[in-house]
């Protein structure tokens, strides 16, 4: 058997959506039949606080990891990064069936962000559980990823523990399902060979409260600090390297995605927000997503900036503070240009426009 092991972590959906639970269970059941995988189940990744066992488990995982979650892969990856669970971005070949008339996005753009720090030499693959409603595509992709990791590991001649150990964090339905039977007691499993302490299913799956905070994609963030200026609740700060970070995430106002609208690089994600672009969807790839009917059902139509200002004012007032409108912390990208008289170049461009070429 392969000596390379890969950890598969399934992050459950919030709530108890039966269709989602069914998919989760069938994926776990199928993966348990696969050799060389260590499978664990944790609650919704985004909600895990620093003390949650599921998060400590994630932190204990060494080596390559596949994370299945109900989040956009980019969002899931940067939530992990934020929690100190870092790795190289694993490119998945799992792609949702594209809409017929959806044009493909071009080559991935070179990252212009400041990047993450202290990234270890291992790869993290994030798969989106919303892409398919059958377990097979996920199992196939995890097989492929495991093979890819094996090739990589052999190239590095890394020493691995020999026996594949299945560790299950989820007692599927009172432990009387075939899956749980096949496993025996997950609690009795010895600590995994990579030194992770044993985590019991109860601890791993302890329901966390819902959380709300921004997640920064450092492959996009340019450290421009516009979010610090805009957010008046002190969510953002800078670390000892003068890099932007989410310093006080609990100051963040539940449901408010205003800073994300202000970010010029779309580097700020709110993974649970309903609009895909804010929740971390890849740019340009909106195929297979649910339609947002909010505008049709009475929501106002606004541009991003005035929407952000309105959202911020609402939260300020809810806090008993003064609404500030557009007076504070807005990017002033265009303002100076409008104050200046037109120069030669402006005149030239106006002349070209007038020709209507």
């Amino acid at each position: 058997m392969s000596r390379h092991r890969i950890t598969v972590v399934l992050s459950q959906a919030q709530g108890k959506h039966p269709a989602k639970r069914a998919l989760e269970e069938s994926i776990v059941a199928a993966l348990l039949m696969e050799p060389g995988l260590e499978v664990s189940v944790i609650p919704h990744l985004y909600d895990l606080g620093p003390d949650h066992t599921g998060r400590r488990f994630l932190g204990s995982v060494r080596g390559d990891m596949v994370l299945l979650s109900w989040l956009f892969p980019r969002a899931a990856f940067w939530v992990l990064d934020r929690d100190g669970i870092k790795g190289q971005w694993g490119e998945t070949q799992l792609k949702p069936p594209a809409d017929d008339d959806e044009e493909e996005t071009g080559e991935p753009q070179p990252a212009k962000g400041i990047g993450s720090l202290d990234v270890p030499d291992r790869t993290i693959y994030c798969l989106d559980l919303r892409d398919f409603n059958q377990h097979q595509p996920y199992v196939d992709e995890i097989r492929r990823v495991a093979e890819e990791g094996k090739v990589r590991a052999e190239a590095k001649q890394r020493e691995r523990a020999p026996a594949p150990i299945v560790q299950l964090g989820l007692n599927l339905r009172n432990g009387d399902t075939p899956v749980a039977d096949a496993l025996g007691s997950p609690n009795g499993a010895p600590g995994s060979p990579n030194g992770a302490p044993g985590f019991t299913a109860d601890q791993l799956l302890q329901a966390p409260g819902r959380r709300w905070y921004p997640v920064i994609d450092y492959s996009r963030c340019t450290n421009c600090m516009e979010c610090i200026d805009f957010c008046l609740f002190g969510v953002y700060g800078v670390d000892e390297h003068e890099r932007l970070n989410v310093e006080n995430q609990d100051n963040c106002k539940k449901g408010c995605p205003a800073c994300s609208r202000v970010c010029p690089e779309q580097a700020i994600m709110f993974p649970d927000y309903k609009t895909p672009a804010i929740a971390g969807a890849p740019i340009g790839a909106i195929g297979n997503l649910k339609i947002d009917l909010t505008k049709l059902f009475g929501g106002a139509e606004k541009d991003a900036l005035s929407q952000a200002v309105e959202e911020r004012d609402r939260e300020l007032v809810a806090d008993g503070r003064q609404a500030v409108g557009t007076a504070v912390g807005l990017p002033k990208r265009q303002e100076h240009k409008q104050e200046k008289p037109k120069d030669d170049l402006d005149n030239l461009i106006d002349a070209l426009d007038a020709l209507e070429l």
Binding site: I286, K290, G299
Partner: protein, 150 residues
Amino acid sequence: MNKPLTFMMGKFAAVLPADRRYCRNHMWCLQSDGVLRFGFTTYAVRLMQDVYFLDWEVNPGDALALNHKVGHIETSKAMSDLFAPIAGTLVRLNAELLNDPSAINVDNHGQGWLFEMTAVSDAETLSVQEYHDFLAAGWEKTQNMLKGHM
């Protein structure tokens, strides 16, 4: 007199009963015993398809402004915030739907009602003919929105 109108959504016929009034946010409005009961029109249900989840953010007794956000819905095809169709006071939410929202699909004009409000006036609402015209006027834009997933 009480003949329902039909709006054609492509090949799908959305029937609009004439016994009630309509709102621009695609809810119907039916008055009985001094309260106004609201529910999704067939047009709205057809766009959403199977309702998975319904979430309310307001409670009975709350005073609502027109277009005040009241909740959220998720369906097989769509999701949306929901807004107050008129200004008034929320009286009652359809508790049955929280356990099982399928009545919205099965019986949107009856058991699938959403909430009840009292209002000073229902002047904001439309007659069935006005709603039909409203749908016709917005249909092309709506189709573009659906295609573009905007």
